[in-house]
Structure formats: structure tokens, C-alpha cells
């Protein structure tokens, strides 16, 4: 197992280097620069600005300087927010995005997992069709539609929940978590149903039923672990997706997360911020994929045997 993990970590290094290099040169290739604005500045001012941020150096020198800073963990100053470093902006935004992603994942797992299991128990009956149709709608409904709908119903008509914010007013975390989690709940429901169906048709389940075990024991003790493997394999990419894809929900609910910084950085040509967040998120994605592989191996004895540890 240790060998497996360290191999995967080593493989990740060139991947991340490619990400850095591609991002570094791509953002600079995009038309317009960080200091272009509606009120154009004089040539002198622009030169001074570029000098302050080392943009006057040759491209390759900028690149090596950036790699040097990165090796020390310094992502550089933000161009758009003078006085703030990219490290600081990520440190401010990431915990919020991670918390949102975590709650969304909980929502997705509890709703999606439950729906998937329920559907799999009575395939091709109403108990299957209703949750699965709901899941289909969930997949099709984008968060920029679901979010405002939830706000309109629960925030404005019923006045039960706050319409925006994060941690300012009690209950303001509920709607964004549901909005972000809903799409993933739908995927998990479908994956869970498929996985459970496969397991429930296995011989050992028939044996368990034949020896007279109550249905809940058959489901919880004997089927879940096998049936939810596809869901677990999906969790790593899902959590990475939740972290990097929460921009829309953060905007709808005015949440001070990383997603907003990330997308705005691209519009602002805030080179260091784009690079910093991209590198940060790509490291996270690599880690979560690894984590979900390890979890899947732990749940699946056949896979575990391949690592040859036990």
C-alpha cells in the first residue's frame, strides 16, 4: 500500500508541473493584461506597474522566478488586490469553499445514497421510478436555476431561511449546501442504484435471504459495502469538482469562497492569482483521486489483493 501511494505521488509531480507551465504561458498569451482598464494609463505608469510586479522581465526569467517562489510556498502578490498575497486570498477563501463542499457532499451522499438504495430494492416499480426521475431532474437542473428557486421558495415566500451569506445569520448554510449538493446527489443515486442492483442479484445475497435474515440485515450488512463501491470511487472526483466548481453557488449566495476569486482572477488577468488557485486546486484534485482509490481498495478485497500488502 505504501508503495502504491508513493508511486502515485511521484506520478503527480510531472502532472502538476505541466499544469503550472501550461497555465503560466496560457494566461500570458490571452489578449489584454492585468493593468488594462477602461481608463487607459500612460505608458510611464504602465511601465512602473509592470516593474513593481516583475512583468518587465523576459518571459522565461519570469517563469523560473515563479517556480523558485513556488518551491518556497510563495504564490506571489495578487495583481488585482494590491496589499494581498495569493496565499492570503486562498487561505481566506478555501476554508469556506471546503466547508461548503463538505456539506454539499453530505447532502449528496445522504439524499443520493438513500434514494439509490431505495430504488434498487424494488427495481422497475414506482419506488424505483420516482427517486430515479427525481435524480434525472437533479442532473438536468443547473445550480443557477435551482439556487434562485430555493431562495424564492424558502427565503422569500416562506421566509424560513436567509437568502445569502455564509455564517452570518443562523441557517444561511443550508440552501447553498443543498443547491451545490443536489446535482451530485442525483449522480450518486444513479451510481448507488446500479451498484446495489448488481450486488443484490449475487448468489450470496440469495443465500442470506434463504437462511432467513431480515431484509434490513441483508441490505445493511451484506449489500451496502459492495454496492456502494462505485459511489466511493466517484467521491474523490466529486469532492474535487465541488471545490473547483462552486463558483456559481458562491455567486448566487454571496459566499466568500475561493470559487469567486478563481473565476474573477481569470477575467481580471490576475496572473499570480490564476496560477496560484490552479496549482492549489490541481494538487487537491490529485490528492482526492488518490484518496478515493485507496478507499475503494479498502472496500474491495479483490483490488486490495493487487497491492499485495495483506
Amino acid at each position: 500500500m505504501f508503495r502504491f501511494i508513493s508511486m502515485r505521488l511521484l506520478q503527480a509531480i510531472p502532472v502538476i508541473l505541466v499544469v503550472i507551465t501550461a497555465t503560466f504561458f496560457l494566461v500570458r498569451a490571452a489578449p489584454g493584461g492585468p493593468f488594462d482598464s477602461e481608463k487607459p494609463v500612460t505608458r510611464e505608469v504602465k511601465a512602473a506597474l509592470e516593474a513593481q510586479y516583475k512583468l518587465d522581465l523576459p518571459m522565461f526569467q519570469q517563469y523560473t522566478a515563479y517556480l523558485g517562489d513556488l518551491a518556497r510556498g510563495d504564490l506571489g502578490p495578487s495583481f488585482k488586490y494590491p496589499g494581498r498575497s495569493v496565499n492570503e486570498l486562498i487561505a481566506a477563501g478555501f476554508p469556506v469553499t471546503a466547508e461548503l463542499g463538505f456539506y454539499a457532499l453530505l447532502v449528496a451522499l445522504s439524499i443520493g445514497g438513500l434514494a439509490g438504495i431505495i430504488a434498487a430494492l424494488r427495481p422497475n416499480t414506482a419506488q424505483d421510478y420516482i427517486p430515479m426521475s427525481a435524480a434525472m431532474i437533479g442532473i438536468c437542473m443547473p445550480s443557477f436555476l435551482l439556487g434562485p428557486l430555493l431562495v424564492l421558495v424558502f427565503g422569500i415566500y416562506l421566509d424560513w431561511l436567509p437568502v445569502s451569506g455564509w455564517g452570518d445569520i443562523p441557517g444561511d448554510k443550508i440552501l447553498p449546501s443543498i443547491t451545490l449538493g443536489a446535482g451530485y446527489a442525483a449522480y450518486i443515486a444513479r451510481l448507488g442504484r446500479a451498484g446495489m442492483l448488481e450486488v443484490l442479484s449475487q448468489d450470496y445475497i440469495r443465500t442470506a435471504r434463504a437462511k432467513g435474515l431480515p431484509e434490513w440485515q441483508v441490505v445493511v450488512k451484506h449489500s451496502l459495502r459492495g454496492g456502494l463501491i462505485p459511489v466511493v470511487a466517484f467521491l474523490g472526483p466529486a469532492f474535487a469538482g465541488l471545490l473547483s466548481g462552486s463558483f456559481v453557488v458562491e455567486t448566487i449566495f454571496q459566499i466568500p469562497g475561493l470559487g469567486r476569486f478563481y473565476v474573477q482572477a481569470a477575467f481580471n488577468r490576475d496572473y499570480t492569482m490564476i496560477l496560484g488557485t490552479t496549482v492549489f486546486l490541481s494538487v487537491l484534485i490529485v490528492l482526492f483521486n488518490l484518496l478515493s482509490d485507496v478507499l475503494a481498495a479498502w472496500m474491495n478485497p479483490r483490488l486490495r489483493a493487487q497491492f499485495g500488502d495483506n
Binding site: G32, S37, Q52, Y81, P82, G83, V163, S164
Partner: protein, 548 residues
């Protein structure tokens, strides 16, 4: 059976959580009671260093934290005393002497001096700082030369501290709007010892503006700053005019999404919104006691015409395009009456100046002009591309004009949308035929609009070049001794500009806000300028009723 129980359990938990969260006092009700103003500010400010940042949300916060030598009265926009208790202007208008109020203090209790201004202006004008608004001080003698690095001795620049409380400013020539510039945040003083504690004067990114470090001089002090969440200000107890300040604090929210902002307003989370979604405006307009407030704004929405490429190099084509635009219909049908049709670059009533209206919607004449240009009824039309930056509202306007040109002139115009920075690049490179543009005034004076089109000016972007126009704006207007004489010069310049038609003026902007009925002392004005010193909250006013 077990699953039904589980269903029930989930349902019960969900409902109790929801109900438990409901109720509670809204921001607005609590704010009214405690004198805290909840303000939708559009976006997270880039920063709070007056010499470094640019932008409207920054302006709102900085002008509550800091105060200039003179400030604008929000009702009349006339200058009134700020840090300077009075000022004298010499006979020829070239020497302005500010007398600093001896009670004016920094938030740490230190007195403000004329030296603070000399040092701060030197900082703004230092080439190494890269101050994007350094041109605000260009009327000051030698300021431009110093900013461009042509001279390096700041004592040659026309800003001198005669003593601790007297600041003498020498201008290149008479500049009637100079006092107004003292209310622009780029000309504000910053606290030298604080800045120097954290770095060089010309460093753009030191932490001196953080809550724990910030020293300011306005009616409010910085209390907390949570990135992308809120910025809180509290009433200053060192501000010279503190007895007049009625608010105890302000909370600024970075309300980037206008639709979410409107929802926050509806549930009483905000007293004031930075904007209003276009689709909601008709509903608010029809409400009784509507919280919707709309007022003319010092800004013009126009299209640039590239006079260096065909077919817009032909004056008759440019005129035909402009005359074929039905601005009243655009305003009424597309923009729900939220704008005012424009026929020149300067907005009407800019400090009493009304631009001449030299043409009107005239489809007959437009067709005739196009025929004279060689395209009778659109025959042989080579096609034309209109560039705008990606935005739903810009698209709507462009589509409307595209249709008008099709209907009136029978010509095809293709629309191209570009992402913001790409669009800016196209504009500066003049890589377009027609392009959307807007200009919001920095100060209330026709000069701020007319100097856009000086030969080779950074915002000209049309290829328009007329020596007579340059002469009028650069020489004749500053020499004028009376307001009437000066305005006559501007009128002549404006006439020249519209005769050449390097731009198609489309409309004058309006400012649009939702304001809770409890908010007082916040008059509409052309600059959409708020002086928080004047604002207060009426206690027993209910929050605005929600509507859909």
C-alpha cells in the same frame, strides 16, 4: 417499514431545522435601531489605499474613511470645507491657498498638516508608484513632468507647505474644477509614519491598510474587514465634524450579483443597493411608495466609430448611422425608461452646462446620407462589425441598433461580443469598426468629457483629430474668465465633434438604487455621490415591502 420510519425521521429533522432558523430581526430593523447602515457595495474593493486603487466600490468606502481638503455637498455638488476650513484663489486663478482646519486630526489623534498633503501628492505622482489616477493632479504646475520622470525634484512641483496649516498650490493655468478634484480619493492625504512603517512610499502592496494598521482621517474608522464578506466602519471620535455625524457605523457588502442583491434587499438585509436588475425595474416603478430611486448620472453610453477604416471613414456613413438610431424608442422599449437619449458626449446639466442638440432621429435624412455615401438603399454595402464586451444589457442594446439600421438603412451589421480584457485590447489597438464605449465622469465639468477626444488621447480610440478642437479644449477654455464664456467654448468644441461624428452618442446613464424608507440624508445627485456624514436612519420605519 424501517425505511418509512427513516423517511419520517428525515422529514421531521429537516422541518424543525428550517423552522428554528426562521424569524429573527432583520439587518435593517436592527440597523435602524442602532444607527448601522447596511450598504450593498457591488464588489469586493481591490484595496483601500487611496493612491493605488481605482473603481466605484473603492470610492464609496474610501470617501467614508478619508476626507479631502474640500468635499462635495451631496445636495448641490458645490464644494464645502473638508480638511481645509477655507481656501483663497488668486485673481488669475493660478494660485490656490488652502487653510487647514486646526481641528482636523488623523484617527490616531495626530493633527493634520499641509506637509501631509505635500508628501502624499509626491507619493501619488512618483513614477514608481504607478498611480493610475495620478493625472488628477496634472493641473498642478510641473506635476505631469514629475509623474513622467522628466523632473525628479519634487520642490519644482507647485505644491508647497507655507506652514503647518497652509498649503499653497500653483496651477499651470486657471482650472475652475480644481477644488472639485480635492474630493477625489486620489488627492487625499495618507498618514506618512504609518506607510513608512510598512515599506517605501511607492510600494503598492504593503499591509498598511489592514484593520490593525490603518490610520485615516474621515468621519468613520475601519473596524473589520472580512474578505469578500463585509467591511465594517465605525464612527470616528477624532473627526473634526463628529458632532454632525449621525450614523454609528456602516457595513459594506460585496454584492456582485445584482439579482442576489435585490433578494437581500427584499428580506431586509440591506438598506441600499448598488444597482437594480433591469428585469425588476418595471415592477418597482409601478409600486406605491417604491424604494426604487433613479436619477441622471454623469456618464454617457456611446459607440466609437473607427474613422480610419472603411466604411466608417466616410463622414456621411457615420452621420447616417447616428441619425438612424431612434434613441427614444431604445430608451422606452429596450431599457424600460431607465436612460435618457443622448445627442452629444457631455451629459446635460453638467454643472449648468447643456450640450447643443445638433441632430435628431431622422430616417429620411439618414437614408439620403447613405445614398450620398454611395450605398443607396443599402446597395453595395460592404458590411460592418459592431464590437461590444460580453454582457446581457450591451447585447440587448446592440441588437436593437442592429435592427434599427436594418429597418431604416437596409444594411447588415454583424455583432461581435468579446470578453472584457479582449475588448479593451481591441479598443486600444483600434481593432474594430464600431465599438461600444461608456464614460463616467471623474468630476462635474464638460472638460472631463471633451478632453477624451483630443488628438492622440488615450481614450480617443476613433482616429478623430482636429487642431481647432484641441485648441478650444486645451487653450481657449482655460483662458475663459467667466462661466458663460467657458461654456460657449465647450459648446463650439462639442459642435465640431458632433459634425465629424466620430462617435454615436446613445444615452446618458442613470443611477439606480433600492433604498429603504428609513434612510435619510441621501439625496440623488449627478455624481451618485454619497457623503455619509449627512446620512441617518429613521428608527420606526418598516422595511420596504417585497414584491415580485
Amino acid at each position: 417499514m424501517q425505511f418509512r420510519a427513516l423517511y419520517l425521521f428525515c422529514l421531521v429533522t429537516a422541518v424543525t431545522t428550517l423552522v428554528a432558523c426562521g424569524g429573527g430581526e432583520s439587518n435593517v430593523a436592527q440597523g435602524n435601531r442602532e444607527g448601522i447602515f447596511h450598504y450593498g457595495n457591488g464588489s469586493e474593493p481591490q484595496g483601500l489605499d487611496p493612491h493605488v486603487v481605482t473603481g466605484v466600490p473603492e470610492n464609496h468606502i474610501i470617501r467614508a474613511l478619508f476626507e479631502g481638503l474640500a468635499v462635495k455637498n451631496p445636495y448641490t455638488l458645490e464644494p464645502e470645507p473638508g480638511v481645509a476650513k477655507s481656501w483663497d484663489i488668486s485673481e488669475d486663478g493660478r494660485i490656490v491657498t488652502f487653510h487647514i482646519n486646526p481641528d482636523a486630526k488623523w484617527s490616531n489623534g495626530e493633527p493634520m498638516t499641509a506637509h501631509d498633503y505635500v508628501w502624499s501628492w509626491q507619493r501619488l505622482l512618483s513614477p514608481a508608484l504607478g498611480g493610475e489616477y495620478s493625472y488628477m493632479l496634472y493641473p498642478v504646475q510641473n506635476a505631469q513632468a514629475f509623474n513622467k520622470g522628466e523632473i525628479t525634484d519634487f520642490s519644482e512641483v507647485g505644491a508647497k507647505a507655507l506652514d503647518d496649516l497652509t498649503l499653497q498650490v500653483t496651477l499651470d493655468e486657471r482650472t475652475p474644477y480644481f477644488i472639485q478634484l480635492m474630493d477625489h480619493y486620489s488627492t487625499f492625504a495618507v498618514h506618512r509614519p504609518t506607510l513608512e512603517k510598512f515599506g517605501k512610499a511607492t510600494d503598492r502592496y504593503t499591509p498598511w491598510t489592514r484593520v490593525e494598521n490603518m490610520v485615516s482621517n474621515g468621519a468613520f474608522n475601519l473596524k473589520s474587514w472580512q474578505l469578500n464578506r463585509r467591511i465594517e466602519l465605525e464612527k470616528s471620535d477624532t473627526y473634526w465634524d463628529r458632532d454632525k455625524v449621525r450614523l454609528n457605523g456602516i457595513v459594506y457588502y460585496p454584492t456582485e450579483n445584482v439579482v442576489s442583491e435585490e433578494r437581500m434587499f427584499r428580506v431586509g438585509q440591506l438598506h441600499y443597493t448598488a444597482s437594480v436588475p433591469l428585469g425588476k425595474i418595471p415592477v418597482y416603478q409601478e409600486m406605491e411608495d417604491s424604494p426604487y430611486v433613479q436619477a441622471p448620472y454623469l456618464g454617457t453610453y456611446y459607440y466609437l466609430l473607427n474613422t480610419e477604416v472603411p466604411p466608417t471613414d466616410n463622414l456621411k456613413v457615420r452621420q447616417a448611422l447616428s441619425l438612424a438610431v431612434d434613441r427614444d424608442s431604445l430608451s422606452k422599449n429596450v431599457l424600460k425608461g431607465t436612460v435618457i437619449g443622448a445627442y452629444s458626449i457631455t451629459p446635460p446639466d453638467t454643472l449648468g452646462y447643456f450640450p447643443p442638440k445638433l441632430f435628431d432621429y431622422d430616417p429620411e435624412r439618414a437614408r439620403q446620407l447613405l445614398a450620398e455615401a454611395g450605398y443607396p438603399n443599402g446597395e453595395g454595402w460592404p458590411g460592418l462589425e459592431l464590437t461590444y464586451n460580453t454582457s446581457e444589457d450591451h447585447r440587448k442594446i446592440a441588437v436593437a441598433l442592429q435592427q434599427m439600421w436594418k429597418d431604416v438603412l437596409n444594411i447588415e451589421v454583424a455583432l461581435i461580443n468579446q470578453e472584457w480584457k479582449v475588448y479593451l485590447d481591441s479598443i486600444t489597438q483600434m481593432n474594430f469598426q464600431i465599438a461600444r464605449r461608456g464614460w463616467i465622469g471623474d468630476y462635474v465639468d464638460p472638460n472631463n468629457f471633451l478632453d477624451l477626444f483630443l488628438t492622440g488621447g488615450g481614450n480617443n480610440n476613433t482616429g478623430f483629430a482636429d487642431p481647432r478642437y484641441d485648441e478650444l479644449v486645451l487653450r481657449k477654455a482655460p483662458q475663459a474668465t467667466t462661466k458663460a464664456e467657458r461654456f460657449a467654448v465647450f459648446e463650439e468644441a462639442e459642435t465640431l465633434l458632433m459634425e465629424q461624428m466620430p462617435i454615436i452618442p446613445v444615452f446618458t446613464y442613470t443611477s439606480k438604487h433600492l433604498v429603504q424608507p428609513s434612510v435619510r440624508g441621501l439625496p440623488s445627485n449627478l455624481m451618485d455621490s454619497i457623503n455619509m456624514k449627512y446620512v441617518w436612519l429613521e428608527q420606526d420605519q418598516p422595511a420596504a415591502e417585497a414584491s415580485d
